[in-house]
Amino acid sequence: MAGRALYDKLWDAHVVRSDADGTAFLYIDRHLVHEVTSPQAFEGLRIASRPVWRVDSVLATPDHNVPTDGRARGIADPVSRVQVETLDQNCQEFGLTEFGMSDVRQGIVHVIGPEQGATLPGMTVVCGDSHTSTHGAFGALAFGIGTSEVEHVLATQCLIQKKSRAMLVRVNGSLGAGVTAKDVVLAIIGRIGTAGGTGYAIEFGGAAIQSLSVEGRMTVCNMAIEAGARAGMVAVDQKTIDYFHGRPYAPTGEMWTRAVAAWRDLQSDADAVFDHIVELDGSSIAPQVTWGTSPEMVVPIMARVPDPAQETNAVKREGMRAALKYMGLEANTPIAQIAVDKVFIGSCTNSRIEDLRAAAAVIQGRRIANNIKLAMVVPGSGLVKQQAEKEGLDKLFSAAGFEWREPGCSMCLAMNADRLEPGERCASTSNRNFEGRQGAGGRTHLVSPAMAAAAAIAGHFVDVRNF
């Protein structure tokens, strides 16, 4: 019998029952809940008089709508306020654990899950949010679901699923100085495209992935969905295990020893079979910048904006033209000549302590350029914020002219008050450069935290390796 991939192991361990055609009930260990995709699910439970199947599997927090400044004043937008209050009420009514807006443990669901040890290796983790793939960085099977499925998991602890195909993305070699996890995942998406992973669960492996910290691996898995894959994952190693030791929800004592023994098996067997394998040379990856309105529209910082006239596929060519028009860019413009208006450091992709440290190292002792209207840092959680302040990073950012904010999703999707105005151009550490994503008419360029910080100082994109 052929060996099993990590995905096979995680899948097999969670099948409750399956039909002849492969449709299976998959058991869910951890259900993360936020305010945007859950109200209709709770309403569904109420209408059908159904209880929550396993209360201790749920962890909730508001993140999308929360303000990132003046939080003591509450939420000014009445519609946002009702949504956050509805989450509070639902958690109370159904007896669920919630880190409310004033709790120091509040933050972006995908940051707080691992931070608390509420995400653990070997788990199935779901959330009504596509970036749930983040948690796969710890050898977990994690993916986003819709609101009907949120209700289904609340009511039954299961999802009805068919197994995806397995893809291995192997990043060989070592990364150059100034090249980060964000650059790696953008380079992968640039290679396979935003639909390249559709129908697959992607395992990220190879020396370059192994060399990343667990936080870096989270950044890579976070954007698996931008490559079309619902789930991304990385095998467990000593770094994974060390990360969880002593976290509030992690096991302790004898239970810790037993858990660690089980976690060590969470990697693909040497003879595992994948449906598709993609290989990249890590040493050839440069810092990346997106130029268009899809994450696959990405080039290295030294490159120029691509010319649609060179594209042979007609549908793609029209897509490129529309993207350049929306982005207000001319073909063949050097990326390093593109000036930015705003800089956003945050989101579930890049708002953890290492991201903030990387950005702070670039700005240390410098000031943001005169053309920058706003540069903001939004930590991923209250605890990340606390840690950063302990290290004095907040003072470094403030001295450089950045605004230091409260944790939440913020300008990644602009559901709260943080947004771009029409035509404004942003260097953003978030995950989606879709039209209007950061505000109607806003123009987003996805970059790493170090590249965003360098753009804030220079006023335009710049190669952080020579900065």
Binding site: T23, R54, G146, M255, R437
Partner: protein, 213 residues
Amino acid sequence: MKPFTRHTGIVAPLDRPNVDTDAIIPKQFLKSIKRSGFGPNLFDEWRYLDRGEPGIDNSKRPLNPEFVLNQARYQGASILLARENFGCGSSREHAPWALEDFGFRAIIAPSYADIFYNNCFKNGVLPIVLDAAVVGELFKEIVTHPGYRLTIDLHTQKVSTPSGKEYSFAVDAFRKHCLLNGLDDIGLTLQHVDAIRAYEQQRRVVAPWLFKS
């Protein structure tokens, strides 16, 4: 959920690849705690010339005359023809809610993002995959035939054109069963309560650290 059996309707062509869920229903409308009423804000940024916000009267907003759904010949459309990777991006079920609320019963495209595809079936919207070349043909036919309609039969899994051409499509047997009968799958899952409990009992033994008590 409204069952889907056989449907004939006007087809609206949305000719661009990678239409994401932020485009289908922009984030400001996700603040609603309801499941209905998203139709007027479907494709909001393309459909209107001003900026949409929740609570404003959409009937008074300036329409973008160039957007396909605003053109006279596509009024009353209930089938959306789209390109590759339709519905990519976020998991928001508000996207199929908005499509359904607007009046779309089916979508035809060469490919979809996984989560969106799945969400459609939970809301009585049938996402049909046809070969990119066939989709390209349909785009051409629509442009030259005002009032172009297609008939979709879920029983026989066929799309038929006015000229009598038929295209077969694949659909998962369980999803087809649920859609044909308008079934709530939570009820179906709860018929297997014993299997879930048995699994849970075994899991408590194998991985007790995953349970609080």
